[in-house]
């Protein structure tokens, strides 16, 4: 008769059994989890890489990251801080400000005589920081709100959902404008505000609906039967299954954050010293906004904003294709 499956371990040699067991237990659990996480990351990366748009987006992001990293190197080595500082630099050798692009100033200078390229690179870092902080706050808030609303239902659910409705109804930029008038908003504040508004707003609703589909799965019932408390089920079962979708929406929040900052800076409502939006604001207040002759004043900043926003959006779209089939995979 063909080999039967081994049901009773005592029929195997005790030594063999002990040997089989010791290999697993020799590796500490945290290490095993790390290995598994790495394996998971690699296979997700492979899936992600199949999609060209994701790679394009990622390439653009990397390019801007390099830009942000290059700035401190350049300002400390090649560039003379007096001339190239993005905020207070001034090039006296140029006769007319804003000066068109030249070998010394690859993207020219702005109406205040500051090097445009240096401004662009300096701001890249803070734009990234803004985007990432806002996105993280959104993920944390939206995931928690979504999971808790879905799990408990009832009054808690109603409160959060009505809150979300109110937030969605409010015009986003107008709210930010009002807030900036009332309070002094810096980059970090802006990131937190955007994160919180997005987190309690539309994203919470989307994540809650996803959490509802998870709540009724059999493994949640199994966890309850094992004796799991509400907190255990929410944070150990529901939230881990929400993270792929949360992560996905995070990408879109980055886009929204960068763009909102640009709009607010354009209106001069933010208390920051340099950003892409501020570059456009400077151009506008100097009266060169529609002057196509001085193209280097507008295009670098606006193209940078567009490209970075688009890059995160493309990465988000590619992630969508990674996340969704996996969720449905058997």
């Amino acid at each position: 008769m063909a080999e039967k499956m081994d049901l009773v371990p005592s029929q195997r040699s005790p030594a063999g059994e002990a040997a089989a067991r010791s290999t697993i237990l020799q590796t500490p659990l945290w290490k095993v989890r790390l290995q598994l996480a790495w394996r998971g990351f690699k296979s997700n990366a492979a899936l992600f890489a199949e999609n060209k748009i994701g790679l394009i987006g990622l390439a653009v992001i990397v390019m801007f990251a390099l830009m942000a990293a290059a700035y401190p190197i350049l300002i400390n080595t090649v560039w003379d801080p007096n001339i190239y500082d993005p905020i207070i630099g001034y090039d006296f050798t140029q006769v007319e400000q804003p000066a068109p692009p030249s070998p010394a100033h690859l993207l020219g200078t702005d109406p205040l005589g500051r090097d445009v390229l240096s401004q662009l690179m300096y701001s890249a870092a803070s734009e990234f920081a803004l985007g990432v902080v806002a996105a993280l706050v959104t993920v944390i808030v939206a995931t928690t709100v979504g999971a808790v609303s879905a799990y408990f239902g009832g009054a808690i659910d109603t409160i959060f959902m009505r809150l979300a409705d109110i937030i969605i109804m409010m015009p986003f930029v107008t709210v930010l404008i009002v807030l900036s008038v009332l309070f002094e908003i810096r980059m970090l504040h802006l990131a937190l505000i955007i994160g919180i508004l997005a987190g309690f707003g539309g994203d919470a609703i989307v994540i809650k609906s996803q959490a509802l589909t998870i709540k009724v799965r059999a493994y949640i019932e199994a966890a309850r039967i094992a004796g799991g408390s509400d907190a255990h089920i929410i944070f150990r079962h529901i939230v881990p299954n929400l993270l792929p979708i949360s992560f996905l929406y995070m990408m879109f929040t980055v886009t929204s954050a960068i763009f909102s900052e640009a709009v607010l800076s354009f209106f001069g409502l933010l208390n920051i010293r340099m950003s892409w939006g501020l570059m456009i604001h400077t151009t506008s207040t100097a009266g060169y906004l529609l002057d196509l002759q001085k193209w280097w004043l507008i295009f670098p900043a606006s193209i940078a904003i567009t490209m970075l926003c688009a890059a995160f959006y493309l990465v988000g779209r590619a992630l969508d294709e990674v996340v969704n089939p996996r969720l449905r995979k058997r």
């Binding site: 089989a20 199994a222 094992a226 299954n241």
Partner: protein, 332 residues
Amino acid sequence: MATNDQTLVKVENLVKYFPVEGGLFSRVRGQIHAVDDISFEIQQGKSLGLVGESGCGKTTTGKLMVRLYQPTSGTIKIRTAEGTLEDIAFRRGKALKAFRRRVQMIFQDPYESLNPRRTVFDTVAEPLAVQGIGTLIEREEKVADLLALVGLTPPDTFMFRFPHELSGGQRQRVAIARALIVDPVFIAADEPTSMLDVSIRIGVMQLMADLADRFGVSYLYITHDLAVARYMCQDVAVMYLGKMVEKAETEELLAHPLHPYTKALLAATPVPDPRLRRDIINIKGGISKPVDPPPQCRFYERCPIADEFCKNNVHPPLEDKGGGHFVACYKV
């Protein structure tokens, strides 16, 4: 069946109603009588099969037994470690959590009952982790033991796999390991093999039977297939629209069915042998949802032998017709 030292589970007059909402303000318009006054016992070393078609209340009964739902009324008594029968129908909080070590469940869908983002180890160890049993090392060892026991050998290779890397049969074995790890006395199994491939089913069923023998675990084996119940359970009960209509030892029920519904079920079950022809069954109509049913016999509308008496009296009680064979019918 008298309660004796061997009784593991004793259920009396178990009732579960679900409200039907509707109308403009989601008012409660009626009650679905999902489980309507059923009673049964399960003895040590024996398993009870709960058989019926969809909507009869067998899955709800299973979920009540493991307290996924709270009953509307009735008692569910489980034998504790100290040896007494305790009613857990309305327990909450810590007491309920303690009871969860005595009773576990195996689900129908092997793909849905495991969290896709948790490893096999996490899933099987979860009852231990949640109940605070053992150190991490002890839990790893116990999980390895159990994986070997359910036929997933060598345990190394399976411990840290994810559900999507396992086949349906393997996943169900993981679910069985998870159910057994807290040493329960009773497991509710909701159609555990109906979604598995045919050639895998027998292996899993035999595993469950072996484990029942070794560990003295009893099953409430929920299934729509009388043939499967025959192989897994010494006793079987037939449910219809929330009521238990017949209950007896399995071979006795198959050989001498008394209730017309049982007879119809037996006649309708296909037999894997083309040489045997089945009898024609003559019940009419289809199953409806038991929303606020009238007090008469639930089977009256479809019954081929019902008469005026059946129409004018309440649903017949479950009575012993001799030798532990219970039937709820006026015409027997």
